[in-house]
């Protein structure tokens, strides 16, 4: 194995924890570091939609300087780490911690757990695995293994009010109780949003991804939805998603309007408007 970095501290960080605890968020704080080559891996995404794994997409979109790698590239990278490289490996809740292939690597093992479990006296599978415990979101770790559903949405653009309804319904349990939802959705103004819900935390979080507006045909960049819950009604959920996506005709119409709008907005920036004075006491 090659030298990991000049200081000798391992450049590999394994991060585990229950769904919704804040693993990707915790890793994100290190991803703006421009002094090291940065790598991010979310192993075992394993299905045919693994390219649409939301954490990978989110890290790729938010931190363009980070190299997002997949399982097949992992071994090669870990054997030949570039100088000063920092590798963050996010371990999904569905993986068996004791059997992780990375366990034997010289690495930092961080478990993000609910605050009450972060105390040294508490005992859990995280304690026996990790060499570092971090207090994450104040949520209940699920007792039984929940179901995990991933839906690829690449190319789909959503009608905004429909998206709001469907997110309210899914997170409200209309298709089975949900403990975690994360997704990347394309909207007709050419923007993409990262959407995040954790059962036990308030509200649904919308984050605009700072990407180039996609206003010419269907977006080619990847998007998708992941839902973690119990007895999920996949077919009904898929029908609702389908009914909320724009047809080619509508999309073309919206994109034409938005292109004109942004063009006009640029050219009239200097015009001033007289605002109506209105008082509502």
């Amino acid at each position: 194995m090659s030298d990991l970095n000049p200081l000798g501290t391992p450049g590999i960080t394994l991060v585990a924890g229950p769904p919704g605890i804040g693993k990707t968020t915790w890793i994100s704080q290190f991803l703006s570091d421009s002094n090291h080559p940065l790598f991010y891996l979310c192993p075992g995404a394993g299905t045919e939609t693994s390219t649409e794994a939301i954490d990978r997409l989110r890290v790729g979109y938010c931190f363009p300087q980070v190299t997002v790698i997949d399982d097949s590239q992992a071994a090669d990278l870990l054997m030949n780490l570039p100088n000063q490289a920092q590798v963050y490996i996010e371990v999904g809740f569905h993986l068996d911690l004791a059997a992780l292939p990375f366990n034997e690597l010289p690495c930092r093992k961080v478990a993000i757990v609910p605050p009450e479990l972060a105390q040294l006296t508490a005992q859990s599978e995280w304690h026996s695995w990790a060499n570092e415990l971090v207090a994450g979101n104040n949520i209940q770790a699920p007792n039984n293994i929940p179901e995990f559903r991933r839906m690829a949405l690449t190319g789909q653009v959503f009608d905004p009010p429909s998206l709001e309804v469907l997110l309210t319904e899914i997170t409200g349990g209309a298709y089975g109780p949900v403990i975690r939802l994360k997704g990347i959705f394309e909207l007709p103004d050419g923007q993409a949003f990262y959407i995040d819900f954790v059962e036990g935390l308030e509200g649904i979080e919308y984050t605009e991804l700072k990407l180039v507006r996609s206003l010419k045909g269907r977006p080619t960049r990847l998007s998708g939805l992941e839902v973690v819950g119990h007895s999920l009604q996949q077919t009904a959920m898929a029908e609702t998603l389908q009914a909320s996506c724009l047809s080619d005709e509508l999309l073309t119409q919206y994109q034409r309007q938005y292109r004109q709008h942004y063009k006009a907005a640029q050219s009239t920036d200097d015009k001033t408007t007289n605002q109506t004075e209105e008082s509502v006491a």
Partner: protein, 270 residues
């Protein structure tokens, strides 16, 4: 005299029966209905038969209109593409289910009903599709009442009940025209009211309970009534009769199946 005003029953016979029983305990002498007898719910024929057999005068709602004339509301009357998709599913289901004589009866319903200084409409005097929300601009709301020549305008369609008093309105108009000299006029408007009856069969106030209102014509007093009923029966019937199960979920949550349009005062020209 005490009047009961009900609206937006949407084929929910369980809720209607509970509300009619509650009206009896309130000793209302007359009942008025603001339309949307059908749509979304599992018992459109039963609801219409009950309204007819009780001799309750009713306006025509937008759903009643669609069942009579075919689905001709334009997509802009739907708040979202998803609501439109589901609205179409509900319309097709209701259209198949409904008896011919029920359809004929719905066709006879008037757009407005009047009694003394009271006027009854489904959405607004302009349109069965217009939402008179409590947040609507006060002057615009006042215009809706004045357009009817009434002092009290009863409406539904939003599925959330409220009473709104519009008092001490004053406005002035100054005219410059080529053919005449400048004129200025002041206008004062005495107290007017908008009373929204909420929804019997598809409430949207966050609880599953049915809502309606009691109006005392002598005291000009409004009571917003909230009535519990066995909504789980309706939810089960929605699923058993082949309506989309999501309707049952939304009913149990006190959420309307269709949310409000973006621009609630938008009136389509089609």
């Amino acid at each position: 005299m005490k009047l009961a005003v009900i609206s937006c029953i949407h084929g929910n016979i369980e809720a209607l029966d509970a509300v009619l029983a509650d009206i009896d305990t309130q000793k209302a002498e007359e009942i008025y209905c603001l339309g949307d007898l059908v749509g979304y719910g599992p018992y459109p024929n039963e609801v219409v038969e009950k309204i007819r057999s009780r001799g309750i005068p009713s306006c025509q709602g937008c759903w009643d209109e669609d069942i009579v004339d075919g689905l001709n509301a334009c997509e802009c009357s739907y708040p979202s593409q998803l609501a439109e998709y589901r609205g179409h599913l509900a319309h097709e289901w209701t259209d198949k289910e409904i008896h011919p004589e029920v359809r004929e009866y719905l066709a006879t319903l008037p757009i407005t009903l009047k009694k003394d200084n009271l006027c009854f409409v489904h959405g607004s005097p302009n349109s069965q599709h217009e939402y008179l929300l409590p947040s609507m601009d006060g002057f615009a709301a006042l215009e809706r009442v004045l357009a009817t020549d009434a002092d009290v305008l009863f409406c539904g369609h939003t599925h959330v009940p409220y009473e709104r008093k519009l008092e001490n309105a004053a406005l002035s108009v100054k005219v410059n025209a080529v053919e005449s000299s400048e004129t200025e006029q002041q206008f004062q408007v005495p107290l007017k009211r908008i009373i929204n009856a909420g929804s019997v069969g598809e409430p949207r106030h966050g609880r599953p309970n049915a809502t309606y209102i009691i109006y005392d014509t002598d005291a000009a007093q409004v009571t917003l009534r909230e009535v519990e009923y066995d909504y789980e029966k309706t939810c089960q019937a929605i699923i058993d009769k082949g309506l989309p199960p999501i309707f049952a979920w939304r009913l149990a949550k006190g959420m309307e199946f269709a949310e409000l349009a973006d621009d609630p005062t938008h009136v389509c020209e089609r």
